[in-house]
Symmetry: C2
Subunit: 233 residues, 2 copies
């Protein structure tokens, strides 16, 4: 990444820093949805039955529609969508490269657990942006039933073979570790985006105590999600 590109200027009290932060937020979300679409389509391909393929295909198509909404908003703002996504490609691609699911069940757990953490995190961030951006972020985070699909399939597999639970619980921990490691990388590299959370421009932000509570909320939600799958976090 090149420290001289405009999007990486540290945010100031004026509107330019805030705009850069929103472009970052929409850019990382857009690339996340595009890769989410590609991963989900691959899961659909690997699904064992025709109804499973069709169900996951529908969820993949919905993710692509979210990607299109984010690109349209970036264009409305006069931002180049490709340039907005570019700074996040390495981190998101590396997350996926380090967490290639081994089989259909690991793919479902990854989609459920990974999307769950990402959704919670973006919802937290959306508290610090303007209402119109927040509404768009909330709409693209809508989950089209994928969660329920994963919960039922994973629980049914564990009922058939209890030993699966141990392997998938380890997999869930690895996913969280890799997600945190890539998120830290983004936080260090993208000042504008980080400043949405910790303040630094006119839309305010969280203090350290609030950040601590946020991480506690994210962790609690993750533990509950693993529990719904029948797995220890």
């Amino acid at each position: 990444m090149d420290a001289a590109t405009p999007d990486q200027t540290p945010p100031t009290e004026d509107g330019a820093g805030y705009r850069a932060a929103v472009v970052d937020l929409l850019g990382v979300l857009a690339y996340g949805e595009l890769t989410g679409f590609l991963r989900m389509a691959a899961d659909a391909d690997a699904a064992p039955t025709l109804p499973d393929k069709a169900a996951l295909g529908g969820l993949a198509a919905a993710e692509f529609h979210h990607y299109e909404l984010l690109v349209a908003r970036l264009q409305e703002m006069g931002a180049d969508p490709e340039a907005a996504m570019d700074p996040f490609i390495a981190a998101i691609d590396e997350f996926h490269a380090r967490t290639r699911p081994n089989g259909w069940l690991e793919g479902l757990v990854k989609a459920y657990v990974g999307d769950g953490i990402a959704t919670d995190f973006y919802r937290e961030v959306s508290a610090y942006v303007d209402p119109s951006t927040a509404a768009l972020v909330h709409s693209v985070l809508e989950n089209g039933g994928q969660a329920e699909f994963a919960v039922q399939a994973v629980r049914a597999s564990i009922e058939r073979d209890e030993r699966i639970a141990g392997r998938l619980a380890l997999w869930g921990r690895r996913l969280v570790g890799e997600a945190i490691s890539q998120a830290q990388r983004v936080a260090v590299e993208r000042d504008a985006l980080s400043s949405l959370l910790v303040g630094g421009h006119d839309h305010g932000g969280a203090d350290l105590a609030e950040l601590g509570r946020m991480f506690a909320r994210l962790t609690d939600a993750h533990t509950r999600r693993m529990g719904r799958l029948g797995l220890n976090a």
Copy 2:
């Protein structure tokens, strides 16, 4: 396949044979669109650049939407979409298994040439169905710009390295051979569908001379498509 299932009853002059033929037509189209979506999403994943990924992703999402339209029509007709697709899974899966693209360019040629032949064939068949079914068939065969995308990418590659043209021309011939071989298998196994073309129920059909002209049209169109890619058919 089980010769006792209702969809395989040979069509008669009454409406039941015709209905079975339409269910077959919509079923084979639906499974074709679903697998087309999965293949196109895999091509998007393999695409070398972000704009290519996004463009192919959009075409994949459009194919999934076509699949949904066909499933909705089958449900309107009181047919079970899964049962309607089931007789065609083996032939379509085998076509794809025998024509796995080796790299991005072969994937583009397969999408362009394969979809082109399929589209021409289904348009010919739609001449023998009722106007409402024909309109649906035409709408799901709409090509969202994928053809232009493939033509430009393949021609650009050949300009960079002329030797590619020989390999891709061979690949195009293999695709046609496998498509014909699987289509013959379907024609033998699915009397209702074949009867749409050769007559046998109240919506008429083509005579042998007309079938010959149809195959000539399909072959000519294929040769023109290969030419547009810069390849010998």
